[in-house]
């Protein structure tokens, strides 16, 4: 069945015009896994924010950051490409609230919430500057997550032009979210708090859109001109959750809604054929 399901997913992706697709799923109820190109690297887009969330809670847990700490919100970041400053563009950001705090301070937990729930680029970069890339990589390493590679803050166009990007695999994101769902990411309490943040997600046109109405999903999307991703923990009634990551790559200038619909369609297919084991 798994082989047929994989073929059907690839057919869906091909019909939608995706140039590449990768899927990884892990059912926490029985430990079964599904993998399709699960170790292929993709540009991470905003899915990398889950790694920043992990590192933030890791720093709090290790006592390196006070949990009620406030941090100065500045829209000034150093490009990894040439060490010159750059700003993130409010018109390309999913969140306006954080821009209202420029020049002032915000609580780090509030920044984390904006970073995940509405994918605030500004909140992300403020936290990345606070934590530092090394600390984020160290947190991933401590968790043994290999398929999530953090290099830099988001919207660093000069780094992008230089080919310096954050990367993820479907297997990597699934592993990271599995640890969050199982309470082993940093600590049980930290995992629980991270899960609550992810469950508040407002972008629900990917994995959640392929599921029965009312299904709780702790997910994080990622979208730039050439990739559309979603990865999350799915909570169906009366069963243990499962983790799913769907990563897609596209030629530029495509129809965004069609791209998200592909992820929703794959989510539905995985629910029916992998989780519920209905025949195709």
């Amino acid at each position: 069945m798994s082989g047929e399901l994989v073929e059907d997913i690839e057919e869906l992706a091909s019909d939608a015009g995706a140039s590449a697709v990768a899927v990884a799923a892990h059912d926490l109820m029985d430990g079964r896994s599904l993998e399709l190109h699960a170790d292929r690297w993709f540009h991470a887009a905003s899915t990398i924010k889950v790694a920043v969330l992990l590192a933030l809670y890791d720093a709090i847990e290790r006592g390196e950051l006070p949990e009620d700490a406030r941090v100065h919100v500045r829209n000034q970041f150093t490009s990894l490409a040439d060490s010159r400053y750059y700003r993130v563009d409010a018109s390309r950001d999913g969140n306006e609230v954080v821009y209202g705090y420029v020049g002032r301070t915000m609580r780090i937990r509030d920044l984390a919430h904006h970073m995940i729930v509405t994918s605030s680029n500004l909140a992300t970069n403020v936290l990345v500057e606070l934590l530092g890339p090394e600390a984020i990589r160290a947190s991933l390493a401590r968790q043994g997550v290999e398929g999530v590679e953090f290099r830099r803050g988001v919207e660093d166009d000069r780094a992008w032009e230089a080919g310096i990007n954050n990367r993820v695999t479907a297997a990597g994101l699934t592993e990271l979210l599995r640890q969050v769902a199982e309470g082993t990411a940093v600590s049980e309490s930290a995992s629980s708090e991270m899960l609550e943040v992810l469950l508040d997600q407002r972008f629900v046109s990917g994995i959640p859109a392929g599921l029965p109405e009312g299904t709780r999903v702790a997910n994080k999307t990622g979208e730039i001109s050439t990739v559309v991703h979603d990865a999350g923990v799915v909570y169906l009634p009366d069963r243990d959750p499962y983790v799913l990551a769907v990563l897609t790559e596209w030629n530029e200038d495509g129809d965004t809604s069609r791209r998200r619909k592909l992820i929703a369609d794959i989510s539905k297919l995985v629910l029916e054929r992998f989780v519920e084991r209905k025949d195709g």
Binding site: P66, A69, R70, V71, T78, S83, R84, Y85, R87, G103
Partner: protein, 201 residues
Amino acid sequence: MADGVRGLKVVDGLELPRPYREALRPGELVRDAAGRTVQLPRYFYEVASWEKALETELSPHFGAFEFLDIDLREAEPLRAFPRYLPCAVVPFAAVLERFRDAVGGPVRIAANGGYRSPSHALSQDTSPHLWGAAADIYRIGGEYLEGADRIRRYAELAQRTVPGVWVRPVGDGVGGAFDHLHLDLGYVTLVPRAKRLKEPE
């Protein structure tokens, strides 16, 4: 020990408890970027609470709270009240008042952009922020200071209208101002006159 300003008590930093002395390093000699020896402030206004900071005007349009808005990069003892402001902050507020008159509207000081102690994580160099004699201005009226043109326009205005003020060059590299206008008066220290214990006969 000395007269205060607008209800704030003046304290000798050398007489503060050890955690504060270690963070504030009162009266310590340090070297500036040019290798010159300069002395860190020794006398401070003590601000008992955030409410006190909010209600205390250092000048008609600048409150003590604007110089005390810091984040977790400040040394831990200095993130809780009572907090301390070098006495030069009062004449510097008067300088900012002059700048406010020139721009014709509210001038907003950024977090970490007022007073920073020598132990603040952003205090690697001997910035006049350590003397309470500098401000990073991020907004003037409703205008955020983003982009070289805006910052340069206000920088030129400051240099024309505020005698003795130093303005950090605009730039998008380390050491340049990219999201704020930095103004300072240099390493200004102020030793307030003490109240006489007994009037002369």
